[in-house]
Every structure is written in C-alpha cells, then in structure tokens.
C-alpha cells in the first residue's frame, strides 16, 4: 500500500498544475449548455488539446499522452482543483471513446478519435427515447438496411440528449431487428448530426439552459462503417459504455473534492457564527468526498491488477450522485435566503439533482448492485 505519488506521478501532477494555473479560464466560463457558452467551451477545449491535456490517457497518436489510469486521475484532480470548467466533450471522450477503443475497427478509431480529441467533432449520447428512459431496452428508433446504398436508414426520436443542439455527432442505439426481443436486435450507430433527415430541437433543462435536445431521424442514411461493434450487438456494446458512464470516468473524485473544498471555505467564511449542526453537515460532506477518492484509488488499483469494476460502477454512481446533492444542499443551507439567487451553488444544486436520474436512475443502479454484487434473486 502506497498512497503517495511516484516520482513520475509527482512530476506529471506538477506539470498539470502549473499549466492549469496559467491557462484555466479566468473569470470562469459561462455555462457550456447555451449556444454562446458552448462556443467558448469549445475554444477552451481546443486550447487543452493543443497543450496535450485533452485526452491524457489516450495513445499519443490520437492526441493523448499515454498516461496511466493513476495519472488520468491526477489530471482530473488538478483540473477541477484549478477551477477549470466541466467539459462539454465529456460524452465523447469518457463514454464513446472507451467503447471505440474496445469495439471499434482500426479505421473507426483512426477516423473518429483524433477529431474528437481536438474538439473538431463533439459527440452527444442518443440513448433515451420518449418511451425508453430507465427501460433502455424498449428503444423504438429503428435502422433499416439499405442494401443498394450500402448502409442503413435511421428513423425515430431520441430525447433528453444533453447538449444535442450544439454537438456535431451522436452515438446511440437503434433497432435493427424488429423481430428480436428487447435487448437483442439493437445496433450501436455513429451518426453525424448534419446528415440529411436529422432535425434537432433544443429545449430547456431544469436550470433554464437549453441543455437538452430532441433529435428526430427521418430516413437518415448512414454507411456501414457507422456501425460500432457489429449489427445486432448494440446492447452488449452499449453496456460497456454505460458502465463507464455511471462509474469512474464520467465523474472522477477530483470534481467532488473541489466542491467539498469550496464548501469548507464557504462555511469557514462565516467565522465563529457557524452553527455546530451545519459544521457537522459540512464535515460529513467533506468526508464523503474523501471517501469517494479513497474508494476510487482502491478501485483503480484493482483495475490495474486486472479486475474490471463491472457492476461495481453502480456503487460509484450511487455514491457520487448523492454526494453531489449533499454538498450543494449544505451550501444552500449555509447561504440561507440568498440561495434563491442564481449563482454557482444554486445552479450546482439543480445540476446535482439530475445525478440520481441520468446515466441510469439510482433505482436501476440499486437493483444492479443487489442482483449482481450481492447476488440477490431477480423477481
């Protein structure tokens, strides 16, 4: 057991910290979930890429640094610690990319990953449909084979697509075999949103930003190389992605530790007037963020030793989503009536409330934990 940075890790950390301190946007960028904010975020992410920080864990040939998983975690930690913004590229880099590395052809990887790393393409996720939320397997959007054109025609609707109105590409599941049962007969497609027949309609999220979109497909043609991981193999391929989403890669501990530090500062700024009950709430939030960090370090050691987290990523999801709400709710209690004002804590609270819903509701995660980790019987 050794929780210190190795000398290589320490050097990596120092380099990241120094670069971030010099380059992080100051004042902070506006929300990336509006058209104007998104453009500024793309600019920032390109700056990250140019300096080699966009995708540290990827191979050098795709714009990465071949960084280890531990170094990736260190970068995340330093990134959020510096006050740098949430990343509008996250769904591509943290959700699609791991799937591409696992299931993509060489051609797909070479074609897609460098543009993703450089924020030339920005990817959104097309899972949910009006009738398929928690019940992802009930997807109705379909892809019909077009033999003549050598590809597929996509028709249907995706919804609650985060930043769908601003992204250039979408990855998602479509039904290729309408005869096959729920989980079977789905295929994972990679779709440029400028394709003919695609209509995108942005709409408002809880916090007021146009962070959501409906994406309508009307006989949209995509060629065969838009299929990721094999026709009718979509469920298996997607499950690998959702594992990443709910677990480690989407929400690394650095983000919550930074929120916890801000919370401690907020509480300390009140001086001696701090109520002991609220002080205790702050301590509990801070400890939970530390516990998430330590859980993650142990998990990463396990991964390096060859243990895939699998269903354990549901533990991450349950923990970080509740943690994020707790940290923000405590901050709002500290702030009192002024918490009504639009600001980082009230915005952050609203954002945090989505945590138990997106990436598979916490109800779904608890069932996964019960059945797959504890071995409880299915109904």
């Amino acid at each position: 057991m050794d929780l210190r940075d190795t000398s290589a890790e320490a050097a990596f950390r120092a380099e990241a910290r120094e670069w971030l301190a010099a380059h992080r946007p100051d004042p902070p960028l506006p929300s990336g979930d509006t058209a104007a904010g998104f453009a500024l975020h793309v600019q920032w992410e390109r700056e990250l890429f140019d300096a080699g920080w966009a995708v540290v864990s990827w191979p050098k040939r795709y714009g990465g640094r071949d960084a280890s998983l531990v170094e990736w975690l260190i970068f995340e930690e330093e990134y959020y610690r510096s006050g740098a913004p949430q990343r509008v590229t996250q769904n591509g880099i943290f959700l699609l990319a791991p799937t591409l590395f696992a299931f993509g052809t060489q051609e797909q990887q070479d074609r897609i990953l460098p543009r993703m790393a450089a924020t030339q393409d920005v990817w959104c996720q097309g899972w949910s449909e009006p009738e398929a939320g928690s019940d992802l397997a009930s997807i109705r959007s379909r892809a019909v084979r077009d033999e003549q054109a050598g590809g597929w025609r996509l028709t249907g609707q995706k919804t609650w697509t985060t930043r769908g109105a601003f992204c250039t590409h979408l990855f998602g599941l479509f039904r290729t075999d309408p005869e096959a049962g729920r989980h079977r007969g789905l295929t994972y497609f990679l779709v440029p949103l400028h394709s003919e027949g695609v209509t995108v309609r942005g709409f408002g999220r809880l916090d007021g930003d146009d962070g959501f979109a409906d994406v309508f497909f009307d006989e949209v043609f995509v060629p065969d190389d838009a299929v990721l991981g094999g026709v009718n193999e979509g469920w298996r391929v997607a499950m690998a992605t959702t594992g990443s989403e709910r677990g480690l890669t989407l929400r690394s501990p650095g983000r919550f530790r930074q929120t916890a530090r801000r919370l401690v500062d907020l509480a300390a700024s009140g001086g001696d007037d701090l109520d002991a009950r609220l002080a205790d709430e702050v301590v509990q939030g801070w400890m939970a963020a530390e516990a998430y960090q330590l859980f993650t370090l142990r998990q990463i050691t396990g991964i390096l030793n060859g243990h895939e987290p699998g269903a354990a990523s549901s533990l991450n999801k349950l923990f970080w989503s509740e943690l994020d709400i707790r940290l923000h709710a405590t901050a709002l209690e500290l702030i009192g009536a002024d918490g009504e004002l639009d600001g980082p804590w009230s915005r952050g609270y609203q954002f945090a409330l989505g945590g138990p819903i997106y990436a598979g509701t916490n109800e779904i995660q608890r069932t996964i934990v019960a059945e797959r980790l504890l071995g409880l019987p299915r109904r």
Partner: protein
C-alpha cells in the same frame, strides 16, 4: 376537542380553490411575474374577500382568523400562486387596518387593485417588486419596526431568482415611515411565517399529486412505473411527510387565532415541518418523473423552484428549529 375546519371555513376554502384552479393554470403561472392575466386574478381574490380575510369587518375585511388564512394559503400553494398573497393577507391587511392615514392603501389592497411586497430582513431584496407599489420592510423575527416604503421612491433592478415567477428585485432607496412596532410586528411576522408554511403544504400536495399521476401513466419494463416497489415506497414516504406536517400548520393557525402563549413555538414548528416536508417531496417528485421532470417544458419545475424559494424564506427550517429549541430551553 375538534380538529377540523368549520363548514364555513371549508366552504371558503373550496371557493378559493375553484377560483385558483380556474384562473391560475400553469400557463398563467409561467407568465409571472407580470403576465397579463395576473392583475385580473388579484382583483378576483379581492372581490371574494380573500385579501382582507384577517382584516376586521369594520375596516372592510372579512374578520376571519388564522385558521382560515392557513386554509386559503394552502390552496395558494397548490397552484404556486405567483402573487404576494401571504404578504397581503398575513402582513399588510392586519398591519394597515388600525391606521386611518393608510385607509386608501388598505382599501386598494383589499379590492385587489394594489399589491404590496415584504422585505422582513431589510436586505433590499424581495419578491414581487416589479408589480408592487409598496414594500413592508423590517420586523425580522418579530422584532423592531415595520416600515411602509413606496417602491418608486427608490431604484429597482431585477434579480435572477431560481424561481423567475417570483419577480425578485433589488430595491435601493430611502426607507419609508414606520407603521408598526412591538406586538403588532411580532404577530405580523408569525402570520407571514405561518402563511409561507401553508403555501409549502399546498406545494407539497401538488407535487405529490403530479408524481402520483405521472407514475400511474408512465410505463417502463412493461408495467406502470408506479407499480415498482421502490417508487411506491418513496411516494408513500412523501405522503407521510405531508400528512404529518399539515396538522401542525393548521394547529399553529389555531394557536394564533386563540392567542396561545405557545403561538411562536407552534408557528416555528409549522414552518420547519412544512419546509422540510415540501423539500423532501420535491426531491421525490423529481426523481419519480425522471428526465421528464428535469425539463422546463414539463410543469413540475415550477413547483420545485417555488418550494426551494419558500423553504428558505421567512426563516429556513434550521432557523425555526432553533426557535423551538429556545422555547424548550435547549438553545439560548
């Protein structure tokens, strides 16, 4: 012992409820703070006497008590009424009733021609600022004086609130004349706290109703979402929260109406229970709606946001629990 509204109170509540259901749809709510139909709704509330329900009959009011006020403001909460009803009913009416020099203002309020805002902490930040002509400032915790300030005597700027239907403003300018002191201020504070608690109960009921309707209609995995035990149990707990907060709010109204020496404690308990109940129901309702509830196109968010604002307004749950603790000798 008899714990129920009287037939007259029940009748009045029901009239208010019909009016609000008819004239305060979510479409009207979305148009706040300055939608074209809101002034008419305010006048209708005036016409049926709601805005002066605590004002003695000799001053043009209905001469009812705080139990009736609670019943009416629960209904206001149920539709998230985007008008300063608590300010008018709980605070302005009773405070102005004894003051001949402000007879005209009172009459305008009672007729629903004029709205009035409140800024108990004198921070210059308060809701309904763009539509109100006056603001009652001061009186936090029931201490000090309450002042009547004409809003156009100062400068006004919009503030971005979590709940845009509240019409939150920043007001700067001279504070107007003091109109109340001592026990009047204390009673006014308690009434406003209680009115807010009542609104929170109504909000909680509404959010729970919406969640129940949604999980009955919405199907996933081949069954209504509301048939899954996790959803059923979460909503059952939400009902427990509201069912055990509402009697405390009604009883605090009774304490005030009868001049109980425990009125302060009872009102604080009402606000604390109603605020935490409504906040908990808000979380459950959002979770039960899933991504749908997380959009502004759907209606739930309107009620969530009002709940968040009112839970901290007029003292949050922690503040009021400290008051209760003080009355129990546990907090100095």
């Amino acid at each position: 012992m008899h714990f129920a509204l009287s037939a007259e109170q029940e009748e009045f509540r029901s009239v208010i409820r019909s009016l609000l259901e008819r004239e305060c749809s979510t479409q009207v709510l979305r148009s706040a703070p300055d939608g074209p139909l809101l002034p008419g709704l305010w006048r209708r509330l005036g016409e049926i006497g709601a805005l002066g329900l605590l004002v003695p009959e000799e001053h043009g009011g209905l001469g009812l008590d705080e139990v009736s006020m609670v019943a009416v403001l629960i209904e206001a909460g149920r539709v998230a009424l985007p008008l300063p009803a608590t300010e008018a009913i709980a605070l302005a009416g009773p405070l102005l009733a004894g003051l001949p020099e402000h007879r005209t203002i009172l009459a305008s309020i009672l007729r629903g021609e004029l709205t009035i805002a409140a800024d108990p902490a004198t921070t210059g930040k308060f809701p309904h600022g763009h539509t109100a002509e006056f603001v009652l400032s001061g009186g936090w915790g029931g201490a000090g004086s309450v002042h009547l300030t004409p809003i156009d005597a100062g400068d006004l700027a919009s503030l971005a609130s979590v709940d845009p239907t509240r019409g939150l403003v920043r007001h700067t300018g001279p504070v107007g004349e003091p109109i109340a002191d001592g026990p009047e201020v204390l009673r006014g504070w308690r009434r406003a706290v209680l009115g807010t608690a009542a609104e929170l109960v109504g909000l909680g009921r509404r959010m729970l109703d919406m969640a129940v309707r949604h999980v009955i209609d919405r199907r996933q995995f081949g069954a209504p979402v509301g048939s899954f035990q996790a959803v059923q149990h979460a909503l059952a707990e939400a009902l427990v929260r509201i069912e055990f907060a509402e009697p405390a709010v009604l009883a605090a109204g009774y304490s005030m109406a009868t001049g109980s020496s425990d009125a302060g404690r009872d009102v604080s308990m009402a606000k604390a229970l109603a605020g935490t109940a409504a906040s908990a129901v808000a979380r459950t309702a959002l979770q039960c709606h899933g991504a749908l509830g997380y959009t502004v196109e759907y209606e739930l968010h309107l009620f969530l946001k009002r709940t968040w604002a009112l839970a901290e307004a007029w003292g949050g749950a922690g503040w009021h629990r400290r008051e209760v603790g003080r009355s129990l000798g546990l907090v100095r």
